[in-house]
Symmetry: C2
DNA sequence: ACCGCTATTCGCAAATATGAGAATATGCCG
DNA sequence: CGGCATATTCTCATATTTGCGAATAGCGGT
């Protein structure tokens, strides 16, 4: 890779990628393994950026629109459906894994 | 615990538990750690039974009805929402963990 | 057989997510 | 500055899930 090949559509995406991950090892680390205990929104954003896609591009792959993707990636959004998450995962060659883990004894709801 | 104390409401639940797990070590194992790569429906059923609850009891904890729980535990149901899964998890003193794992190179959608 | 409890399934109203397009920011680069 | 691409937010119609009650079926014990 010598003379800045051809400026493809991923150009702007790389800008975004640099803007977020350039020189932030801990962020990159949390990206490589998408298994951080992060919020769903952040997981989705990380997944998309890691794939080098814009919201619009991912939307086309998933079969929806950019605004929908934006909604899902919004932090204050809790209305995700497994169906949609699966569609996104498939479009990104991933699998959705769901796991229930017991809560530490400190913050239980009731003793029983 | 000597003389079969008092026959509480959990009596019938224990029957169900026996019916499903009696003498099936692998099922019990998959129950202890709820982290098997099972379908969501089976995970929910296992979680509920492990907590020693009927669908009705769980429904009351969650704030819904038994039929709704039954729907969620039905195998041919793919309309789960993270909101509902979280409600159930909280009622059962659990946490929902979502993870995206890359698909093996064999069964990709497209090369890019 | 009956009774009690469970699970499953049906129907419908209400709440919510999605699909879609347009309008408004924000940031980057020439 | 002026394009250009992105991300975000808004509004609407449609699709889907949820809430709830009732009706049915299955199973176990008396």
């Amino acid at each position: 890779m010598a003379t800045r090949k051809k400026r493809t559509t991923t150009d702007a995406v790389q800008i975004l990628y640099r803007r977020y991950y350039q020189g932030r090892p801990e962020r990159v680390r949390g990206l490589e393994e998408a298994r951080a205990d992060d919020s769903v929104a952040r997981k989705l954003t990380a997944l998309r950026l890691h794939a080098g896609l814009t919201q619009r591009q991912l939307a086309k792959l998933v079969g929806t629109t950019a605004s929908a993707i934006c909604r899902l990636e919004s932090a204050d959004y809790a209305g995700h459906s497994l169906a949609m998450l699966n569609r996104i995962a498939i479009a990104l060659d991933q699998r959705v894994e769901l796991r229930f883990t017991p809560l530490p004894h400190g913050k239980r709801l009731k003793s029983a």
